[in-house]
């Protein structure tokens, strides 16, 4: 199979690519609908590329037809796909044997895996780590944690996505092999280990479900403090049990998040009634 490395006369300059990238960065989701999702964000980010490559207006109109198909992925990692198509489009305009369908097959084939990788890598690993650190800085009501998150995340997101876009452009369709190949799978697995451990740490650091159940003897002395007993078995056991219960409901019983929350309301209500839970409040 031919690679899309450009040998022809037309070449996308850095300014055009930057313009296209910025349109994706700011506009991937602005005109979102359940039916077409990111299709319009994709089309508008391809416009500068098509304008540069095809001087004739009719050619531009014809070229954009390749991007009218449904598109939805994780927009952060998805910028690599936009970069790859920019490179493929460049090759196509130079007369390489690339049809609109070829570009579309590549997009359709990548958007699923990229969505999966992006959701677990960025939403599931990177952001919980950043937020976990930021929350620690802000527990006393100080704004430092929030400011830390804003600066670190925005810089990472902008330059990370920019890097991916240009990487996608320079690799062209060779990037596909890496993204869904063996090395990609190994990297994903290794990162999922980090993600799982950090999420466990986040749960233990920030969530603390406790019971207030204490049994009093005849002389008024406490002879069973349940929370003490639980802590001596495994600190945080109740928190883990509630979390696993929610996980079991949602992943094994396919209960929606909203119903899971309502079930927690019922558990709390019953627990408060029988004295198992008591937040210990008064005016």
């Amino acid at each position: 199979m031919e690679t899309t490395q450009n040998t022809g006369s037309k070449k996308l300059d850095k300014k055009t690519l930057s313009h296209s990238f910025n349109l994706w960065f700011w506009g991937a989701l602005t005109c979102f609908s359940q039916e077409h999702m990111q299709t319009f964000g994709y089309m508008s980010s391809m416009l500068p590329i098509l304008r540069k490559l095809y001087p004739k207006h009719d050619d531009q109109v014809e070229a954009i037809q390749a991007y009218t198909a449904f598109f939805n992925t994780n927009p952060m990692l998805g910028s690599v796909i936009v970069g790859i198509t920019a490179s493929m489009e460049e090759a196509r305009s130079n007369g390489k044997e690339i049809q609109g369908d070829t570009i579309n097959d590549m997009r359709a084939g990548l958007m699923g895996p990229i969505a999966g990788i992006g959701d677990s890598l960025i939403d599931g690993t990177l952001i919980p780590i950043l937020l976990g650190i930021a929350l620690g800085m802000s527990t006393d009501g100080s704004p430092i944690g929030a400011i830390f998150y804003i600066i670190v995340w925005v810089l990472l997101a902008y330059f990370g996505q920019r890097f991916l876009y240009f990487r996608g452009y320079s690799l062209g369709d060779k990037a596909v092999g890496f993204l869904v190949g063996k090395q990609g799978a190994a990297v994903r697995y290794a990162i999922s280990i980090v993600g799982s451990m950090v999420v466990g740490g986040v749960l233990a650091s920030w969530v603390n479900v406790t019971t207030s159940l204490k049994l009093h003897g005849a002389n008024g002395k406490v002879f069973l403090d349940l929370q003490d007993k639980i802590d001596s078995i495994f600190p945080g056991l109740l928190t883990v049990i509630i979390t696993l219960f929610c996980w079991w409901l949602m992943s094994r019983k396919h209960v929606s998040a909203i119903w899971t929350m309502l079930i927690l309301v019922v558990i709390s209500f019953v627990g408060v009634l029988c004295g198992f839970f008591d937040p210990g409040l008064s005016y």
Binding site: T39, G141, G145
Partner: protein, 290 residues
């Protein structure tokens, strides 16, 4: 604490920027301005009580620490959590006279914010539905060759959706909701069953957020092991998150090397043992029945 029209309008503008299908882009809008922690900072500045705003933001952020939107489906709406829920929680906490950085204030914030956030999903689907109208303009432009108009389809028209379904609801709910929340104090005493339940639920809600994330990263039961190791490091050894991340990186390197070097040599295509696969399946089913 009260919220005036001007403050409510600023909150409404931020709601437009951050909601999913966000006007400030996903990374800056949804993932920065929309985060409850950042929302807490913004609401704190707008309402003039930074400490309380941040405290509410921290509490809410725990519930939504892992807000993933698989396939564009949402269980909670960030504009409602951060720019309706947090302001109302701030009003509720200050009218109850709770210590802003105390645990009970945090639990109240979680309950109020989660309720509003869950109800707010209707706003998310409303915007996405109205955007279909602008997209139909876009399809016409693509057909008739006026492709330059795609910019206004993608960046201009969706503002109308947000004016109707982000700006107005946020402004009205924060303005009128504030007085409703203040009135709660007289109707629901803190030591009553209703408030106790509300606070207890608030303490448990982050478990749902973590569980949503676990659903993404756990396929087999054995995948729970690294999760428990991370939990134990924090709960029993009291390590902080950066330390846990450093330790987890060590395991990540080991697993990467194993996958890269060992994986291909032992393909698991042939099953060990002599019995036919069908027999094994039958055995499994019987065990499950018992």
């Amino acid at each position: 604490m009260t919220i005036n029209w001007f403050q409510a309008a600023i909150l409404g503008l931020f709601a437009c920027l951050c909601s999913n299908s966000c006007m400030a882009g996903q990374a800056v809008g949804n993932y920065t301005i929309g985060r409850p922690l950042v929302g807490g900072l913004v609401c704190g500045i707008v309402l003039g009580d930074m400490k309380l705003g941040i405290a509410c933001g921290v509490a809410m952020q725990l519930v939504y620490i892992a807000l993933v939107t698989p396939g564009g489906t949402v269980s909670a709406d960030v504009r409602a959590i951060s720019y309706i829920g947090i302001p109302l929680a701030m009003v509720a906490i200050s009218s109850q006279g709770l210590n802003p950085v105390g645990g009970s204030a945090a639990n109240l914030a979680k309950s109020v914010g989660t309720l509003v956030g869950t109800v707010g999903t209707v706003l998310y689907y409303s915007v996405a539905t109205l955007n279909l109208v602008w997209q139909s303009f876009g399809w016409k432009d693509v057909k008739s060759g006026k492709i330059d108009k795609l910019y206004s389809v993608n960046f201009g028209w969706p503002w109308v959706s947000h004016a109707i379904f982000s700006f107005l609801p946020t402004m009205l709910m924060t303005y009128y909701g504030a007085s409703a929340v203040t009135a709660l104090r007289s109707t629901l005493p803190m030591d009553g069953i209703a408030m106790k339940t509300l606070f207890t639920v608030g303490g448990m809600l982050p478990c749902v957020g973590i569980a949503i994330l676990l659903r993404q990263i756990i396929d087999k039961l054995i995948d729970f092991v690294p999760f428990f190791v991370g939990f134990t490091l924090a709960a029993s050894l009291h390590l902080n998150l950066v330390s846990i991340t450093v330790i987890s990186l060590m395991f990540a390197i080991i697993m990467y090397e194993i996958k890269m070097n060992g994986g291909s040599n032992t393909p698991r295509t042939s099953s060990a043992g002599g019995g036919s696969p069908d027999d094994y399946e039958d055995d499994d089913e019987e065990e499950e029945d018992i």
